[in-house]
């Protein structure tokens, strides 16, 4: 994509490939993947189930090593996870032996924040995701959507400058999702974070992103386009906005094409 | 790792193999306060089970004196040419052969040769390989012109009476060669009877032999001469006491020593003690030579030392 790494590029991926070894054959999860993400952008990623979205995020986060190609963060190659990057993984990774409160505190503990400030900050975040009263519950005592929200709070506690989110709101009801989307947008607007947001919901992709990337099999980029719908975007109004409807159609078509 | 004694002056640690009858004089000297009177304190008194462990403890400096059988002393002398004898505790071979109550081959009153031949092809329980109990069987079989390794099956039962008697009672072995008072215990429990007893003079040529001994190394004798001498004096007094005191007193002391033993087994013991424990701690050349001869015949110890080498001059008695 961009030939020179400008100061604005946060993540640059080129020729990325990832194979998993199974029974002496290689399963290709991602092939020749290129992507450049600019500082402060909100990129939503759509794609079929199994097309390599989570694999891509794992690579961006430095959790796994690519089979080929490189990932660089602010110009430097990514060799392992970095504190500046927060990653909300698709599957639940709350510590089952820690209460909600303790789970949200964890990144702060690791960063060495004093106990008093930790407690306050965690309480605030728990409130933001609507879980006050459940501080002392263990993850197994929560509903699926509640666990997801705790994970979100935990990620935010690390105060990352780049957010990778893998279907964060899929398990939440419409209203709560709306509230948290708004919260996320507020955060983003205020703090200038960079967000890469994987979702299955085309509407959500359009509602949040200022750029949407649609992936086909093994991470082939089927569509990569900016979304210039005016902000703030309201779901109810958007639904009847002709531009939105056109975009929706376009993405649906791209997804369908990606399936082939 | 050649460490010398770790005990403070005036104290001796005495390791013994077990609480068998042979070490009764030690107990008596302690009970009667002879050690204190002679000016030595006994520190640790570990029971070590085997001669190898006594030797290890001696070498590590954990104990100053070891109480065991002649075999252990000779073995020590073999690996350490400074091994020395300190006291003669028992001058008889205090291992008995016991057979089950229903043993068919021969009766205890038959001639020795017939009794030995009756053991042919039998399973005989011993305490362990290389022990004095195995040696006795080897010796007896050799006397009758047989070979214990091929003409019998020797089974190691360890050195606790309970296991040995269990095996005999359960019919797992036909006979036991074991330390005294196995015969008395077997009789008291109705499990078996004494069959061959060298200590009772059953075996010609093995009537008197130094068997229960205290030993150490020349290094300790040099380092703690006063303490060792005091120890020897106290033991001598204890051995004289055993011969002179009245039977009731001996029984009382034995009862304390062998806690938990069947009282029926106790009554025969005072007489036995008096016949086996010498009145002095010295080693006569004849007893010593019998022991050496016995070890040579049975092949228990390679490279046997001489009388002059391991019996210190003060302990060389000339009694026949």
């Amino acid at each position: 994509m961009s030939d020179t790494v400008t100061s604005e590029t946060v993540i640059e991926v080129s020729g990325l490939g990832k194979q998993f070894v199974k029974d002496a054959v290689g399963i290709v999860a991602l092939r020749d993947f290129d992507l450049t993400i600019a500082q402060g952008s909100f990129v939503t990623v759509l794609g079929r189930s199994g097309c390599g979205k989570s694999t891509m995020l794992n690579l961006l986060a430095g959790l796994t090593t690519p089979t080929s190609g490189t990932v660089s963060y602010r110009g430097r190659p990514v060799a392992g996870p970095r504190t500046e990057v927060g990653y909300l993984t698709q599957s639940d990774t709350l510590m089952p032996w820690r209460s909600v409160h303790k789970n949200v505190e964890l990144p702060l503990e690791i960063a060495g924040v004093p106990a008093q400030r930790r407690t306050e900050h965690a309480a605030e975040l728990i409130g933001k995701v609507g879980l006050e009263g459940f501080e002392r519950h263990y993850p197994r005592e929560l509903s699926g959507g509640m666990r997801r929200r705790v994970s979100l709070a935990r990620m935010l506690a690390g105060d990352p400058e780049t957010l990778l989110m893998d279907e964060p709101f899929g398990a939440l009801d419409a209203q709560l999702r709306g509230e948290l989307q708004a919260e996320l947008l507020r955060l983003w607007a205020d703090g200038g974070q960079t967000v890469v947001f994987v979702t299955h919901d085309i509407e959500e992709a359009l509602l949040l992103g200022d750029r949407v990337v649609v992936l086909g099999p093994v991470g082939r980029i089927v569509l990569d386009r900016p979304i210039d719908l005016p902000r703030p975007r309201d779901a109810d109004e958007l639904r009847i906005d002709p531009e939105f409807v056109a975009l929706h159609r376009e993405l649906t078509a791209a997804l369908r094409e990606g399936a082939r | 790792a050649q460490r010398s004694s770790t005990t403070p002056p005036g104290v001796l640690n005495v390791g013994q193999i077990s609480n068998s009858l042979a070490f009764f004089p030690l107990f008596v000297a302690e009970q009667k306060g002879y050690f204190a009177e002679e000016g030595v304190k006994l520190g640790e008194r570990p029971r070590l089970g085997t001669g190898a462990k006594v030797a290890a403890a001696l070498k590590s400096g954990s104990i100053d004196l070891g109480a065991g059988v002649m075999t252990d002393a000779l073995n020590l002398a073999r690996i350490d040419d400074k091994g020395r004898l300190v006291a003669n505790l028992v001058d008889r071979y205090y291992v008995d052969v016991v057979v089950g109550a229903s043993f068919a081959g021969a009766s205890p009153s038959d001639p020795l040769d017939q009794r030995i031949r009756a053991l042919r092809g039998k399973k005989i329980g011993i305490t362990g390989p290389g022990s004095g109990t195995e040696a006795l069987v080897t010796y007896l079989f050799a006397k009758a012109g047989m070979n214990s390794a091929t003409d019998s099956e020797l089974v190691n039962l360890g050195s606790t009476a309970a296991a040995a008697l269990g095996a005999l009672k359960g019919g797992r072995v036909d006979a036991l060669a074991f330390f005294q008072p196995i015969a008395q215990q077997a009789t008291a429990a109705g499990i078996g009877v004494r069959f061959i007893s060298p200590a009772a003079g059953d075996v010609p040529g093995l009537e008197r032999t130094s068997h229960g001994v205290v030993f150490t190394t020349q290094r300790i004798i040099d380092k703690k001469p006063k303490e060792v001498a005091a120890f020897q004096n106290a033991l001598g007094r204890a051995q004289r006491f055993i011969h002179q005191a009245d039977t009731g007193e001996i029984i009382r002391l034995l009862g304390l020593y062998l806690k938990g033993i069947d009282p029926k087994a106790l009554t025969e013991l005072p007489a036995l003690m008096r016949s086996e424990i010498p009145e002095s701690i010295g080693f006569s050349r004849s007893s010593f030579d019998t022991a050496i001869g016995f070890h040579r015949v049975t092949g228990l110890v390679k490279h046997l030392p001489s009388y002059e080498q391991i019996v210190p001059p003060a302990l060389r008695t000339n009694a026949t």
């Binding site: 089952p96 964890l106 197994r140 | 609480n19 606790t160 806690k259 938990g260």
Partner: protein, 271 residues
């Protein structure tokens, strides 16, 4: 938002402690039943000279209690066991956490550890005596050596099972090796550690007792040996009873630890 709705539970004493009470009364019942059956059938079914019977054992315990033999010897063994257990468990847990996290290294060392572990300690008794003497430290080390391997191997197995996702979560938060160990590996392999501890308790006892059999004039091992040498079966069993009680108490302690560490786990009340 989702306000939490709670109700006060008004549970009776029975509601709260009924389960525990039932378990303990069943246990007591079982003990009594076993003792009665043993006492009644001792002479008929078993050979009493080798199995003794509860009343004789009790007599011996009372006797030992009166002349002080019981307590002085028990105290010594308890000390050895506790020190040996703590030492072995601490060393085993530490080594387990560290080695199992360094996988390749562990893989190379594994056969050596197993070979060391497989050596019957009794066979090394002379070496132990030469190196560590015949005092308490030798018995403590013998107990610790046995405990070490059991705890180590169980912890190592637990560490291997740690969920990769949780480790990754800590790495994403910028946690280093130490954080991973403390925040994930240790809590997550608690079951392994606790199983190791539970499995090792008896071996702390057995180790100490073996040490006392090797070289001692005190302690429960000495008592057993002495009683066996005098063919005093009641004495042997009396000592075994004391050993079992010590084991049961230590087991209770580990059980409490387990309960504390497992508070977050589902109760599994329903089946």
């Amino acid at each position: 938002m989702t306000a939490i709705q709670t109700v006060r539970l008004d549970r009776s004493w029975w509601g709260r402690h009924g389960g525990t009470a039932t378990v303990w009364s069943l246990r007591a019942l079982l003990v009594v039943a076993l003792l009665v059956v043993w006492e009644l059938t001792a002479e008929r079914w078993f050979d009493i000279t080798f199995t003794s019977k509860p009343s004789d054992i009790w007599t011996r315990l009372v006797q030992w209690h009166q002349d002080g033999t019981l307590w002085s010897n028990t105290w010594i063994t308890v000390q050895e066991v506790v020190y040996g257990f703590l030492l072995g468990a601490a060393a085993g847990a530490l080594t387990g956490f560290v080695l199992a996290s360094a996988r390749a290294f562990y893989q190379v060392l594994d056969p050596f550890i197993m070979a060391l572990y497989a050596i019957p300690k009794v066979a090394l008794a002379p070496l132990f005596i030469v190196w560590f003497g015949i005092g308490m430290s030798m018995k403590v080390l013998l107990a610790a050596a046995t405990v070490f391997f059991l705890v180590f191997l169980n912890v190592a197995a637990g560490v291997r099972e740690v969920d990769r996702g949780l480790i990754d979560a800590v790495r994403l938060m910028g946690g280093g090796r130490r954080d991973i160990l403390v925040k994930v590996v240790v809590p997550s392999s608690m079951t392994g550690l606790l199983t190791g501890l539970k499995v090792a308790i008896p071996y702390a006892l057995i180790g100490a007792v073996i040490g006392e059999l090797v070289a001692s004039n005190r302690g429960l091992g000495y008592l057993i040996n002495d009683a066996a040498a005098q063919f005093d079966t009641a004495g042997v069993f009396a000592t075994l009873v004391v050993l079992s009680v010590i084991a049961a108490l230590l087991n209770l302690v580990v059980g409490l630890l387990d309960r504390r560490a497992s508070r977050w786990k589902p109760l599994g009340e329903e089946r």
